[in-house]
Every structure is written in structure tokens, then in C-alpha cells.
């Protein structure tokens, strides 16, 4: 009893530390990546390679005054940034980083991550509504329609994977992909699926992750050229900081999930030395892709965004689901 209690505390502290450190240092990575793509140095003054920038930014943000606008709904204004950060941290509890490093493996691991990820959307609604700011309000209307639109193809694609593996247990899903790179769910023929469309499922899933985390080219929620800063227009100090950290923590969760569902989790591509390092490597490759995409593609329009989901991704993922079900019946 005592031992499990200690384990739980360690796991929770580790999850919070991992989420917060990643959130802080991904800001640095993003700024360096942006600078590289735009051919400028980026933050490189504080510490080696500018590595001291995130803690300094944190101190600066915490030293600032937290202003609450006059007409704002105080309770919800304060609740919104907290609600942005905590679902991401909750998700880390069930993500397996290797076959031993997992805080609490659950039968319904995927479901838990999606359940808490769906709560993140509410934080944007609360933030936009409680600020009493028209730009923030418009932003949250956009964010909600976006969240509703992209959650559907994402869940359908996940159901496809769950049908192939027959389990919602994240560790079991990774275990089924062990062996070699060809057993990963992303690869069509030799894997468990025999499904030619798996690479497309991966693309759909990854696109939806981009949209669900409000990343460019789908960052209509904070479109700074149209809506000042979107839902966090009125937020200063650490309220703003929490929104930012929440976004990056969500990116980490999304990348973890993509790694587990499609890229074989902690399995090595050649069947050698499976372990947490492979997971971390894949995770940061995906996050790098996130940053790369953000600074490469221009923002879409809101119509383009909604059309992409309702007219292309949802029909495609539904077809994919039926096709996979048929294949599973045949083989």
C-alpha cells in the first residue's frame, strides 16, 4: 500500500515535470526552428545556444501583473488557463514510454487520453467567452467549430487502429507492433492490418493532431493578423504562459499518441534494443515536424479548414473504417 502510494506520487511528479519541461523547452525549440527557417539566429544570447531563455521567460512572466479586464467573468477567466494545462498533464499518466516506464497502464488508455484532450477545447471557450472581448469571442467560436470538426475523423481513425489491434490498451498496441519496422501500423501490407490504406490513416491522424492542438496551418483560433491574439488576447503574465505551455504539452501528447498508434512506440526499426530512447527519438522527430510545418505553410481560411474536415477527412476516414472492417473479416 505504502509502496504504491509512493509510486503514484513519483509518477505524478514525473508527469508534471515532463510536461512542464517539455512545454518550456519546446518554446525555445520553436523559436530556434523558426529562426533557422527564416535565416536568422533566434534566441542565442542567454546560456549556450540560448538554453537559458525558457527559465528567464518564465521568471519574466511570473513577475508581471495578472490583469483581469473590467467586464470579465472572474472565476472562468482564471479557470480557463488552468483548464488548458491540466488535461495534457493528466494524459501523461497513461502514456507508456517503454514497457516499464508508465505511471498507470489502463485497459482504456486511448479513451482516457481522448477524454481529457476533449476537455482542452473547453478552455478556449471559457477563455474567449469570459474575456468580454469580441476578438476573443470570435476566436472561441472558431476554436469550437474546429475542435468538433477534427475530433470526428481523429476518433474514427483511432477506431480503425483499435479494430486492427483489438485493444485500447496502449502497451498492448505497441507490443503488437514489435519485431521489425514492417510490423508498425503505419506500414500497409506486412503489418497486422494487411490494410493498404494505413499510411493514409496516419496522414489523417497527424493532420487532425495538428488541427486539434491549434497549430499552424490550422491556428485559426489565434490568427494574429485577424484576431489580435485570439482567445488569449486579454491574458497577460502567467495566464498567457499557461496557455502557451498547454499548447506545447498538447503537442507532446499528440505526438506520443501518434508514435504509439502508428510508429511502433518504443520498438526499434531493426528489432534491436527496444527501449525508451526510441520512443523519445520518434517523439521529437514528430515534434520537429510540427515546428517545421508551422513555419512552412501559411494559415488556411476558416472555410478551407472546415471543408477539409467535413468534406474530405471524415468521408475518407469512414471509408477507411469500412475497408479495414472488411479486410479484417476476409483475413
Amino acid at each position: 500500500m505504502r509502496l504504491t502510494l509512493i509510486n503514484v506520487v513519483i509518477a505524478v511528479v514525473a508527469a508534471i515535470a515532463f510536461a512542464a519541461l517539455n512545454a518550456a523547452y519546446l518554446v525555445w525549440a520553436e523559436r530556434r526552428g523558426a529562426a533557422r527557417i527564416q535565416r536568422r539566429p533566434g534566441p542565442n544570447i542567454n546560456g549556450p545556444f540560448g538554453l537559458l531563455q525558457p527559465p528567464l521567460d518564465g521568471i519574466k512572466l511570473m513577475a508581471k501583473q495578472l490583469t483581469i479586464p473590467g467586464g470579465a467573468d472572474k472565476a472562468m477567466f482564471i479557470a480557463a488557463p488552468i483548464l488548458a494545462m491540466f488535461p495534457a498533464i493528466m494524459s501523461f499518466v497513461t502514456i507508456p514510454f517503454s514497457d516499464t516506464i508508465v505511471a498507470k497502464n489502463m485497459n482504456v488508455g486511448i479513451l482516457m487520453i481522448f477524454a481529457f484532450a476533449s476537455m482542452g477545447g473547453m478552455s478556449l471557450v471559457f477563455a474567449g467567452w469570459s474575456s468580454r472581448n469580441k476578438y476573443a469571442m470570435m476566436s472561441s467560436v472558431r476554436a469550437v467549430s474546429q475542435a468538433v470538426a477534427y475530433e470526428i475523423p481523429m476518433l474514427i481513425t483511432t477506431i480503425t487502429v483499435v479494430m486492427i489491434t483489438g485493444s485500447m490498451d496502449l502497451m498492448e498496441i505497441v507490443r503488437q507492433q514489435s519485431g521489425s519496422i514492417l510490423h508498425w501500423n503505419i506500414f500497409p501490407v506486412l503489418g497486422n492490418s494487411h490494410n493498404l490504406l494505413m499510411p493514409f490513416s496516419f496522414l489523417i491522424f497527424f493532420t487532425c493532431t495538428l488541427a486539434e492542438t491549434n497549430r499552424a496551418p490550422f491556428d485559426l483560433g489565434e490568427a494574429e493578423s485577424e484576431l489580435v491574439a485570439g482567445f488569449h488576447t486579454e491574458y497577460g503574465s502567467m495566464g498567457f504562459g499557461l496557455f502557451f505551455m498547454g499548447e506545447y504539452a498538447n503537442i507532446v501528447v499528440g505526438s506520443c499518441l501518434t508514435t504509439i498508434l502508428f510508429l511502433g512506440g518504443w520498438n526499434c526499426p531493426f528489432g534491436l534494443f527496444p527501449g525508451v530512447w526510441w520512443f523519445i527519438l520518434k517523439l521529437y522527430l514528430l515534434i520537429g515536424t510540427f515546428i517545421w510545418i508551422r513555419w512552412t505553410f501559411p494559415r488556411t481560411t476558416i472555410y478551407g479548414l472546415l471543408n477539409l474536415s467535413w468534406k474530405i477527412l471524415i468521408p475518407l476516414s469512414l471509408f477507411n473504417l469500412l475497408f479495414t472492417a472488411g479486410l479484417l473479416k476476409v483475413f
Binding site: N107, M112, M119, G121, M122, V125, M137, S140
Partner: protein
């Protein structure tokens, strides 16, 4: 009532702490429900509703059904509450209207109905002897699927009828609105 208080175990025994956790879940649910009913701003009501849903999900988790708990959060918080808030944002930009107590159900009749329901549930809860159920299966997707399509297929079908009625209702309301213009 909290079943563990009937035997009244010590507060710091396992059963006592379990009872405290259960009471916390119940409190969260009740507080959420009160916020949802009594706030004068619709968005706050939605926030209360979400708190209530999370509390109910906590009770499901407490009762050893993580699948139902996660589904509760995913569907009610992730889909229903988001859709409700979307509807509020589209419908009423100035939300500061205090909706007064109106209608025949609001006064004594409302209290009567509530009392009847609460009393009925209380009597039912006290008269049932709550047997501790064994864990039916391991809660994996396969088991849940088999159970849903065999033993509980009636429930499964009933849920789809509820959804069908909801869709029909939405269609009826939408048609009325169109003719009114």
C-alpha cells in the same frame, strides 16, 4: 447515502478513505448541478454542467467501470458540453438576461415533483440491499463488445432509439423555425 457509513469504519482505514473519495465525487456532482441550475449566465451553467459530468464520471470510475467513466467525459464533456456552448455563442451574444422564475412547473409543483423524486430514490436506495458485485470481465474492448451485442443488446438498441428521437426532435424544431421566417 454512502454505503460505507452504514458500517461506519474508521476514517483512516481503507474503507473510510474510500468512503471519503466517494463523498467527494458526490459533492462535486451536486455542486456542479447547483451551479448549472442557479447561475444567471448560460455559459456558467454549462461550466456547472461540466463539473457535474466530471463528478458523475468520477463515480463511475470509483465503481470500477473506467470504460464508462471515460466515455462519460468524452461524450458529455467533449461533445455535448462543447455543442451546447457553441449553440449559446451562436444564439445569444448578450447573455446577461436573468431568466426569472416563470411557468407552472417553477413554484410548488416543481418542489413537489422534486420532493417526490428525491423521496422515491431515497426509499429505493434504503430498501435495496447492495450486494458487492464480482468484476464481470476484464473490461477490454472485446469483452465490452461481446457483452453489448449479446446480454445487453436491448440497452444498446434502446440507446439508438433515444438518439433517433433526438434527431427527429431536432429536425422538427429546425422545420418549425424555417416556416416561421
Amino acid at each position: 447515502m454512502n454505503p460505507s457509513t452504514i458500517a461506519s469504519p474508521a476514517l483512516f482505514s481503507v474503507d473510510g478513505l474510500v468512503g471519503v473519495v466517494f463523498l467527494i465525487m458526490v459533492a462535486i456532482t451536486l455542486i456542479g448541478g447547483l451551479i448549472a441550475c442557479n447561475s444567471d449566465r448560460l455559459v456558467r451553467s454549462v461550466a456547472g454542467l461540466i463539473v457535474c459530468f466530471v463528478g458523475v464520471a468520477g463515480i463511475y470510475y470509483f465503481l470500477n467501470s473506467p470504460f464508462v467513466a471515460m466515455m462519460q467525459i468524452l461524450i458529455y464533456v467533449g461533445a455535448v458540453a462543447v455543442t451546447i456552448s457553441f449553440a449559446i455563442m451562436l444564439a445569444a451574444p448578450e447573455e446577461k438576461k436573468k431568466i426569472g422564475i416563470t411557468g407552472p412547473l417553477a413554484g410548488p409543483l416543481g418542489f413537489g415533483t422534486a420532493a417526490l423524486l428525491a423521496g422515491g430514490f431515497a426509499v429505493l436506495a434504503l430498501q435495496t440491499d447492495w450486494p458487492v458485485q464480482a468484476k464481470i470481465n476484464d473490461g477490454s474492448v472485446k469483452q465490452i463488445g461481446i457483452q453489448l451485442l449479446t446480454d445487453y443488446s436491448m440497452v444498446f438498441e434502446l440507446v439508438s432509439i433515444v438518439l433517433l428521437i433526438a434527431i427527429l426532435g431536432a429536425l422538427v424544431i429546425a422545420r418549425d423555425g424555417r416556416e416561421g421566417q
